[in-house]
């Protein structure tokens, strides 16, 4: 096959590209320029599209012996990921930009372009496994549970999955590093990237404040009694306990958590831990990563709401547009906007965006 290897400049995508070559594919490396004004250097584990990263990706491609180009996806990334991130926060939701990037950039804009240019698919260094079945390609959790990235890939529909190749799904991360070293890849010891790549300082709250303002407003309890002031409601997350700056203690002395963010009234609502309990989750924008489960029927499975969250046993049913998940045990602290991913054991069934919780 002819494949485009998306190369971030990190160790995973470099080894993935090398393995694709070993498998006999004709591979072309592409580094995505996602910022129109890239930083020169990485700072620690943050950022993934600095000039230094693009240089590292080029060197890895040289060592592997494949052509290498840089594709400018800055505009698509800004529109599809960064603007969505800001818009979601502005309506009081907590988005996951990595899901959006996989959905709109890596396996949409890049895959479409690759296909138009005559390639069959895209190789990335993501950790997830693909298995061919009578129902087409199915996606499973990675062999390395610590690195499993199936959660952020659960936004790929069957057509996107057909063009997605994850050669590292069966490998544990430490082996990837060893392999990079034995292949002579300079990036073997490069730190993993974490956090949000377009917030290079790592200060999400400050980054959001710059874009959405820092208008102060009340922090109230569930009864509406004002307990303090916040500096920009967007900078809080559901379930957050620290940094609330509340000076009036709760009657029983128990800690208080952010329960709700109300952008219209610029209010942050806090309450006790029990008030964070969620038993029922409604999700919208449903994407199925394989066969569609029968509608209006109850299915059993596992729900996961964070990248490395615990899979929670649940029952779920859908009507084609929305999905409703009933958890066997309550979950504490879930924001609207988060990604909801359904698993059947280790197989990714599909995903949705959390729109309501009860």
């Amino acid at each position: 096959m002819k494949l485009i290897a998306a190369m971030s400049g990190g160790v995973d995508s470099a080894v993935a590209a090398a393995r694709a070559v070993d498998l006999g594919h004709e591979v072309v490396g592409v580094h995505l320029a996602l910022s129109s004004n890239p930083q020169k250097y990485r700072s620690g584990a943050r950022g993934c599209c600095t000039i230094e990263d693009s240089h590292d990706a080029r060197r890895a491609a040289d060592v592997i012996g494949i052509p290498f180009y840089i594709w400018d996806m800055a505009e698509e990334f800004h529109e599809g990921v960064v603007e969505n991130f800001i818009a979601e926060y502005s309506i009081g939701r907590t988005p996951n930009p990595c899901l959006r990037c996989n959905e709109k950039i890596k396996f949409a804009a890049v895959l479409d372009r690759a296909r138009a240019l005559g390639f069959d698919g895209v190789v990335t260094g993501h950790y997830a496994q693909m298995k061919e079945s009578s129902q087409g390609r199915l996606m499973y959790r990675a062999a390395d549970p610590a690195k499993d990235q199936s959660y952020v890939l659960a936004v790929l529909n069957t057509e996107q999955l057909a063009g997605a190749h994850f050669p590292l799904g069966d490998t544990v991360k430490s082996d990837t590093r060893k392999e990079a070293k034995s292949r002579g890849l300079y990036v073997a010891n490069k730190p993993d990237s974490h956090d949000i790549c377009f917030v290079p300082s790592g200060d999400n709250a400050g980054w959001l404040r710059e874009r959405l303002g820092s208008e102060s407003g009340p922090i109230v309890d569930e009864a509406g009694v004002k307990l303090g002031e916040h500096q920009g409601a967007y900078t809080y997350t559901i379930g957050q306990r620290r940094g609330l700056g509340i000076t009036i203690p709760a009657a029983g002395g128990e800690p208080r958590y952010v329960l709700k963010i109300e952008p219209k009234t610029n209010t942050v609502v806090v309450g006790d831990h029990e008030a964070l309990a969620v038993n029922k989750i409604t999700g919208e924008k449903v994407i199925w990563c394989g066969p569609v489960p029968a509608g209006f029927e109850v299915h059993r499975g596992f729900a996961q709401v964070r990248a490395h969250g615990t899979p929670l046993e649940c029952s779920y049913q859908h009507d084609g547009e929305t999905i409703v998940v009933c958890l066997d045990q309550p979950l504490y602290g879930l924001a609207t906007g988060q990604g909801l991913v359904i698993y059947d054991d280790d197989r990714v069934v599909g995903s949705a965006t959390v729109s309501a919780t009860e």
Binding site: V28, H31, A33, P38, I51, S54, R58, P67, Y69, I70, W71, D72, A74, E76, A109, D112, R113, A116, L117, G118
Partner: protein, 387 residues
Amino acid sequence: MSIYFDHAATTPLSEAAAAALIEQMRKLGNASSLHTPGRSVRKDVEEARELIGQLVGAAPSEIVFTGSGTEANNLAIKGFYWKARDLNPRCKVIVISEFEHHAILDPVEWLEEHEGAEIIRIPITATGFVDLNFLSEVVATRGDEIAVIAVMHSNNEIGTIQPIAEIVKIAGDIPVHSDAVQSFGKVDFNFAELGLTSATISAHKIGGPLGVAALVLRRGLDVTPILHGGGQERDIRSGTLNAPAIVSFAAAAKNTIGSMAANDQKVRALKAELIAALTTEIPDIRVNGAQSPSLPGIVNLTFPGTESDGLLLLLDAEGIACSTGSACSAGVPRPSHVLLAMGISERDARSSLRFSLGISNTSAEIAKLASVISAVVDRARAALART
């Protein structure tokens, strides 16, 4: 077998230049040393200087060797600016053509940002020439404030040759610098006849080695140096003389200028062939810039409905090397400022490729390009259409 259509970027090292380079590299001695080995290397360097001077129409003492064309351009622009400003604080205007190479644009913009320079850009006509009426007007109204005028002898992306003699006439006493790296060795270029104050020429554009170029600088005129040290080159440029590269540069210049007329004829015919063949395959391509007066080998084409980086990837996969305009520091292709200056839309500028031919190219290579171009353009069009 790779087909190389990017001679404006760099050229294959000629046999004469390679032989001279290797021979000189084996020779011991610093050209600034006083002993016998030093004097021997100095002799080689000075013979090279005399030869290059003769070929470029300048006195030997007017050749200042540098490490690159970029360095020579920086030396001229910054040197003239600082010199003029020190003599007269009002003298802070730098006049350049709007489509200069980054080796001129960037030092000028740096001087604007850090040293208080004011930039006046001469507009470019739709066919790719500087607007002389505009320049006359600027010189008439602001002449006493102008530190230097810089206009390239020929444009590196579209190949048009600029009216340097007229510019020098309009400039009067104002220093005129011309970046001639694309012209020297390919078309007539005579420093003295043009009446220039300074010019840049470079070895690797004419079959010479990388890492050596020269600022041709009028005798008796000094500019403020950038590099300070031993003052090896007229006290204007410091650094141990790179004798092997300098000697090889002279060999390349002699070789290429010796056959310039024949090369011109051959390369120009290949260019016409390329334009005709591609137009047959893709009737809606457009040639950017006038074909006369122009360099023999450069042709810039717009392929409507494509993105040039897609074209480049697909042609590269077919073993054909050509070029988009320029890339930013991250390596992202940018719409060419040269094409934008000519009034070409950003969309069309993003759909353009430069093919630059040299004497080693053949009709068979052009036929190969013509045989793949339709499929390549179709794919590139599909890739753009998906957005």
